[in-house]
């Protein structure tokens, strides 16, 4: 018997969720993905005009693209993570929240924990924190590189944009939790959640509704630094997103409670 067995770290739900993120490399994957997008965003903004210019010359016509501005660096980053980044967050969340995907494991938790909230909420919280950390790392990389390569950014507005995405990521993970109450498999949960988020986005495209829905938070970091949005404009969708997050979590708990193995 070695020292680890003699003195293992005390087990708790918090440690369980940390180990879930750490040992499965899900945290590392999120950090790496967002960091890559954060580093590539400003570089793309800087070199895109040159790339397009060279391509258009070879084709025999001229395309003039204006020089990049600092908001373009953030816009590129947000554009990238709005698609693949969110799908990655949904997949990582589904791996944690699809509790009933493995019946034997589900029985382990369901016969030991007093209610669905006790196993769903820690997983939602841990996955949300991991996603927010990933988003933060990427945004820091994008902001630093933008300042170095293009120019200064209004850091207070960058911070406001960060907060908008933090709230939105909590909503995304809550939608995944809700999807886990509808279907069981990890792939199915991911798919249902992504479709649900796309549906929210589609409804958000309707002008009067868009200003209220979570989807308006997705473009907030770009809109804020470009000057098209005021932080006050985001208060309503922010509150609606928080409310919908709570509703999704309550729904997820009720669905999990009502489900049989």
């Amino acid at each position: 018997m070695n020292g680890r067995t003699a003195h293992p770290a005390p087990m708790s739900v918090a440690r369980l969720e940390w180990l879930r993120l750490w040992r499965t490399n899900r945290l590392a994957a999120l950090l790496l993905l967002f960091a890559i997008f954060g580093l590539l965003g400003p570089v793309t903004a800087v070199y895109l005009p040159e790339i397009i210019g060279l391509a258009s010359e070879q084709e025999g016509f001229e395309v003039t693209i204006p020089d990049p501005t600092p908001p373009d660096g953030i816009a590129q980053y947000v554009g990238n993570v709005s698609q693949l980044g969110l799908v990655a967050v949904a997949a990582v969340a589904a791996m944690a929240l699809a509790v009933d995907a493995r019946p034997g494991l589900a029985a382990f938790y369901r016969t030991r924990q007093s209610g669905a909230a006790s196993w769903l909420l820690p997983r939602w919280l841990a996955t949300t924190l991991a996603a927010v950390v990933g988003w933060t790392v990427g945004l820091l990389a994008a902001t630093y590189e933008t300042v170095v390569l293009i120019g200064a950014l209004p850091l207070d507005l960058v911070l406001a944009g960060w907060a908008c995405w933090a709230v939105y990521l909590a909503f995304v993970v809550a939608v995944v939790a809700l999807a886990a109450g509808v279907v069981r498999s990890t792939v199915g949960v991911t798919a249902v959640a992504v479709v649900g988020l796309l549906a929210v986005g589609a409804v958000g495209a309707i002008p009067p509704l868009g200003r209220w829905l979570p989807s308006s938070l997705v473009g907030a970091p770009t809109g804020l630094v470009q000057g098209g949005l005021d932080p006050g404009d985001l208060l309503k969708p922010g509150l609606v997103t928080v409310a919908l997050t709570v509703v999704a979590l309550v729904g997820a708990v009720l669905l999990a409670r009502g489900r049989e193995l």
Binding site: M1, N2, R4, T5, A6, H7, P8, P10, M11, S12, V13, L16, L19, R20, R23, T24, R102, P103, G104, L105, A107, F108, Y109, R110, T111, R112, Q113, S114, E260, L261
Partner: protein, 303 residues
């Protein structure tokens, strides 16, 4: 809450999946401090019943009375699974923590040693064999000091050595908790259980002490070996009204089935003496649950 010395009782428990499938009005009574074997063929409703008892499924009708709190009820499903990235020691520690009694490292080590996994304490369980996972499930169940343990087919997918190890653990468990195990492997149940319930097509067709089942549904049988010809003794036994049947096994050996144990014990020697048979040996056949089960279900079919 039960009041009659049972740790678990159900009353008219029903969970129907399709006409005739599921659990159809089961009145279970599990006495405290016993090993209760729930037997029946595949599809008889054993897993459904255990799912209802463990709270993983809900009944359509009927009630379940438990004399223990939820933190003192341990459930081991037929295919236990754990987080593949946890070590065996972490699984046991987590299991205890989740039921409100975070175990000490020494307790975790003791539980793993009890199931023969001391050397694997620091290994991640994703690489465990089926038998190791089953034993880990027993350790994870025991660490919460349960008063009632529900085991669904605990030995069905194991090799003979694995089955023997798991059955030994269950037998040892009976000293400190009530154990309810379901199995379609009747020899396993006979080895560890003192109470049995026989499920057939969702209904409990027998419930009580194992020995009573064996006595009630099995004809007492003796293997009688005689020197010389067996014909006189065979003919005399055939003509005796308390003898159910006589089979000539060859080699001077008869297999004699009687209606009652007492008739056989007292009468066989008398008949043998009456015909002058030289009895070399008269050995009672050991009763087994499988034969009793078949007799019981055959009786049900006949009815």
């Amino acid at each position: 809450m039960t009041t009659d010395g049972t740790v678990l009782a159900t009353h008219g428990l029903v969970r129907q999946y399709a006409p005739g499938a599921g659990v159809l009005g089961v009145d279970l009574a599990v006495p405290r401090d016993c090993v209760y074997g729930l037997v029946g063929p595949n599809g008889a409703g054993k897993t459904t019943l255990l799912g209802l008892l463990s709270g993983l499924r809900r009944p359509d009708a009927g009630t379940i009375d438990l004399a223990v709190g939820p933190d003192k009820l341990a459930v081991v499903p037929d295919v236990p699974e754990f987080e593949r990235w946890l070590t065996a020691a972490e699984v046991v520690a987590l299991a205890g923590t989740l039921v409100g009694s975070a175990p000490s490292p020494a307790r975790v080590a003791a539980e793993l040693a009890r199931v023969g996994l001391a050397e694997a304490a620091d290994r991640r369980v994703g690489g465990f064999s089926r038998g190791m996972t089953q034993r880990l499930a027993l350790a994870a169940a025991n660490v919460g000091d349960p008063e009632l343990v529900l085991l669904d087919e605990p030995s069905s997918a194991l090799d003979p050595a694995g089955r023997a190890a798991v059955l030994d653990l269950i037998a040892a468990w009976a000293e400190q908790a009530t154990v309810l195990l379901s199995s379609h492997i009747l020899s396993d149940v006979q080895r560890v259980a003192d109470q049995v319930g026989v499920l057939r097509e969702g209904r409990l067709v027998y419930q009580g002490p194992l020995q009573t089942l064996l006595d009630r549904y099995l004809s007492p049988t003796w293997r009688v070996r005689v020197r010389g010809g067996v014909a006189p003794l065979r003919d005399a036994l055939d003509a005796t009204d308390w003898v159910q049947g006589v089979d000539d096994l060859g080699g001077g050996t008869l297999l004699v089935r009687t209606h009652s144990l007492e008739q056989g014990e007292r009468g066989l020697v008398v008949v043998a003496a009456a015909v002058g048979a030289a009895v070399v040996a008269m050995v009672p056949e050991e009763a087994d649950l499988e034969s009793a089960f078949l007799a019981l279900t055959d009786a049900g079919d006949a009815a």
